[in-house]
């Protein structure tokens, strides 16, 4: 398993992740069985670039997923569209918070 640290830009994943937080990711390759509804991932969108979002829906047969933000300000699931598993660059394992909010911010994800 390869680990990677990335920095959050923007607030559409608030209150889970805030602008300026650092995320510890499991990096490529992300096994298919890790893809689970509610899990937070980083993936590459042709339209929006590298995004951190939560998995809203999965089709394991077609190996595609749909993503969602955590609040009303996020681009919508429809805008992000259907995404291939191959676009996933990592799964969020841990969030290092800029301002401590709770013990483990990702423990409540699905």
């Amino acid at each position: 398993m390869i680990l990677k640290l990335v920095k959050v830009k923007g607030d559409s994943m608030s209150p889970l992740f805030l602008h300026g937080d650092y995320l510890l990711l499991t990096y490529f390759p992300t096994p298919t069985f890790w893809m689970k509804k509610g899990r937070c991932i980083v993936f590459y969108s042709e339209r929006y670039g590298l995004l951190v979002k939560r998995i809203a829906k999965i089709d394991k047969n077609k190996k595609v997923f749909w993503a969602e933000g955590m609040n009303a300000y996020s681009v919508t699931t429809e805008q992000m569209g259907e995404n291939s598993f191959s676009t996933v660059k990592g799964t969020v394992l841990w969030c290092f918070q800029q301002n401590k909010r709770r013990k483990n911010p990702i423990e409540k994800q699905g």
């Binding site: 990677k4 640290l5 990335v6 920095k7 959050v8 830009k9 923007g10 607030d11 559409s12 994943m13 608030s14 209150p15 992740f17 602008h19 300026g20 650092y22 995320l23 980083v42 929006y48 670039g49 590298l50 995004l51 951190v52 979002k53 933000g69 609040n71 300000y73 996020s74 681009v75 919508t76 805008q79 290092f96 918070q97 800029q98 301002n99 909010r101 709770r102």
Partner: protein, 165 residues
């Protein structure tokens, strides 16, 4: 741990992942509201100078007073508008939990904004500045930034809370 990672980031420049929004976001700063609150005080001070107008019924004096009142009205409303944006778009539940006084401060600003539109009262205008400063202090604490208090470099030269750079 966060500070250690932040130092590493400074050296290694970690990749940014976007929690992308459907509108330009992330630009929040209470300084606009603070300057508007100061403007309200300034307008009250300017109105006070018109108490001794030689000919208060002259068209010129009435024009001046009307303009000052209009500016006071605009900036008192602007304070309310700017604070509402930060309260509605930036602040989230964890912030309210950490700073339980936030909602009361915002409500006080709304009331003081209206009061300053209705009256010409310096004490009330200064209270508005103080309350917006209090809000700014919490805002920057949430952002993890330090603040300093310094006298504004223009009249009415009241103390403002600035982000420490």
């Amino acid at each position: 741990m966060y500070k250690l990672i932040q130092k590493l980031d400074g050296m290694m420049d970690f990749t940014e992942v976007s929690a992308h929004c459907d509108m330009p976001c992330g630009i929040y700063d209470p300084i606009t509201a603070q300057i508007s609150a100061l403007t309200v005080v300034r307008m009250v001070d300017m109105l006070e100078t018109h108490r001794d107008d030689k000919d208060p019924k002259s068209l010129q004096d009435r024009n001046s007073v009307a303009r000052i009142i209009a500016i006071k009205e605009i900036h008192a409303e602007k304070v309310k508008h700017e604070i509402r944006i930060i309260w509605g778009d930036f602040l989230k539940q964890p912030h309210f939990e950490k700073y339980p006084q936030l909602n009361t401060i915002v409500h006080d600003i709304m009331l003081l904004g209206s009061e300053n539109k209705q009256h010409v009262n310096r004490e009330s205008a200064v209270k508005l500045v103080d309350k917006v400063n209090e809000f700014a202090e919490i805002f920057w604490a949430i952002k993890g930034e330090k603040t300093v208090k310094a006298e504004a470099p223009y009249p009415p030269k009241l103390e403002l809370v600035y982000r420490k750079v």
